[in-house]
Symmetry: C2
Subunit: 342 residues, 2 copies
DNA sequence: CTGAAAGCGCTAACAC
DNA sequence: GTGTTAGCGCTTTCAG
């Protein structure tokens, strides 16, 4: 008799391990072994079970398995955006590495606004990820406590300024700003401007930049903030607004990203400002765009994909049972790449 | 007596519903109700339970709950890359919409190579997502069957050329190519070239372009393929290679994306080729870059975020119990946006 | 090498 | 409005 759907011999709504076991004439536990520890099952049994799995189209319920073994084989990743090449690269590399090791990534895009991070992390931790990747450190004390009590390997990337929850891969954003300032000073610049995105790390770079200049007794011709994340449009719009003041004499500007820098560059060329003659421009992030445009943009290199891979390897090592070491707190090196805009 | 860790009065390794129930003096089921259906519990009880939850730092195990209720409240999303603004936009919008509705996104970045899609989908479906977003349609028959047997709402985006598994939001890539050809013909062009990324959909656009021109008795001066995904660098490298042939007489080129188009544009300007005088360029995707660079690039607009949001709303509607309708097969409109490079 | 029993942490279904 | 019972589909543990 055909079932309700009218389809002939339809497979059961969801094939489970007991169905496979019955079909293969073994205990459910043996099916489980064939899947998870095949070397502990005889070749003949394995073959029979495999055939049954194939025939029934069995897809093991990892949720049920995870509940039992207390391992979800999922990891959570939190980034502010993936619209930026930097974070897209981090997420892509991280996700590749984790997937190869059998982990599935739950992605949370947190945005830059301070929305309810506690609710977000609660939703994440409720799914019992085996490990956690977090970008930055703008969480509340309550959230911090929740993360610590989750007692899972956690790596924070993209910053080093706070006491870490667990592991950390990042760098000092203020230091980047300061080093760019030093670099530009060494090139003979004396007039400066800064265009920053409104997120805490971009602002830290702008601050480092400003303070290093202040130490030389120099101020900024313009110091502006655009909503995060930084965009090409924000760069163009900014220069359109400040071109009069900034463009009247040789000036060097630090931008929050190569995207913004490209916007400033494009607007400068459209206005006939010489780059780097009248306006020197430094970006951040070393995106393909900055390397490929004309003139190519001086920037700060950071290895997003490298960070993603390293974060994965930190977590995987911990998941494999290795203890925490001091080396789990890594300062990512960065380099200023001088190109044609300075 | 302190526990093994030596920490004073440390909270249990993991607080569970029975702990909260005991602390509040109620049954576990009542705790569950306070969390999931608060209106069915008296205010006093709710208050007591809430206090216990707070005090113990209870984070409900959604995995266990999901196993019981057969709802994981997770959705899987598969995209070839997130390094491209188009897919980054789709994923970001999709993930926002789903998260607002209480769903967590499991992201799988499949790449463009034909790796083992069956293994990937098996890993995904094993986590029993409540719904599925898939980009494109390059899966094997076995995978297709697996997806159908999962019997969960599924939406395929970014293409319409195949018979869908379930819902679909996309457009005909060959048609896009053909319409760009018509557009360029109408502008008086008679010499053409095409630079395509090597993925099936970009190739379909290139084919549509070629065939529409062939119908007019016109061939292509150059027709090249670069590895997917398309990049700025590939665009520059291509023109460097073919500049002699392509640049000797007025020519119009179709690129797989605005990124590639920007690469071609930049190389053209660097070589002193007039754009659009000598070389006309059309991109695809309507990325910010193409709109903001000088000269701005003619492109095909597609609303990535809109697609992501619509995909989410399709799935959510289905998850809310609404039946499938014909309107679940949507052809996304696209428009040629004429800017300065044609 | 294989199996049986017990239970992971929660919720559906049914009492009361 | 609240509690009890019986699983969800798998793996752990212990026997053989």
């Amino acid at each position: 008799m055909p079932d309700e759907t009218g389809l002939p011999a339809r497979r059961s709504a969801s094939v489970k391990i007991t169905d496979v076991a019955a079909a293969a004439g073994v205990a459910p536990m043996t099916v489980s072994r064939v899947i998870n520890t095949p070397d502990r099952v005889s070749p003949e049994t394995t073959a029979r079970v495999r055939a049954a799995i194939e025939r029934l189209g069995y897809v093991p319920n990892l949720i049920a398995g995870g509940l039992s073994s207390r391992k979800s084989r999922m990891v959570a990743a939190v980034v502010p955006t993936i619209a930026h090449p930097m974070f897209a690269g981090v997420v892509q590399a991280f996700s590749d590495s984790m997937r190869q090791a059998g982990y599935q990534v739950m992605l949370s895009i947190s945005g830059y606004e301070d929305t309810d991070d506690e609710a977000m992390f609660r939703a994440l931790l409720g799914r019992r990820p085996d490990a956690l990747l977090i970008t930055g450190s703008a969480y509340s004390p309550a959230t911090r406590q929740m993360l610590q009590e989750a007692r899972i390997p956690t790596v924070e990337i993209w910053d080093v300024s706070t006491r870490p929850i667990d592991m950390m891969i990042g760098f000092d954003h203020a230091q980047v700003g300061a080093e760019v300032a030093s670099f530009l000073l060494a090139k003979g610049h004396r007039r400066f401007a800064s265009l920053s995105a409104g997120d805490s790390r971009a602002l830290a770079r702008a601050r480092g930049f400003r303070e290093r200049l202040a130490a030389e007794g120099l101020g900024l011709v313009a110091e502006d903030i655009a909503p995060a994340p930084s965009t090409i449009g924000a760069g163009r719009a900014w220069l359109r607004r400040v071109a009069q003041g900034v463009g009247e004499k040789r000036c060097a500007v630090l931008c929050s990203s190569d995207l913004m820098a490209f916007g400033v560059l494009t607007e400068a060329l459209a206005r006939g400002l010489a780059v780097p003659g009248t306006l020197a421009i430094c970006g951040f992030g070393n995106f393909e765009l900055g390397a490929m445009c004309e003139p190519a943009i001086t920037t700060v290199n950071l290895e997003g994909p490298g960070t993603g891979r390293e974060a994965a390897s930190f977590l995987l090592r911990r998941l494999a049972g290795e203890a925490s070491t001091v080396a789990d707190r890594v300062k990512v090196p960065f380099q200023i790449i001088e190109r044609a805009t300075t």
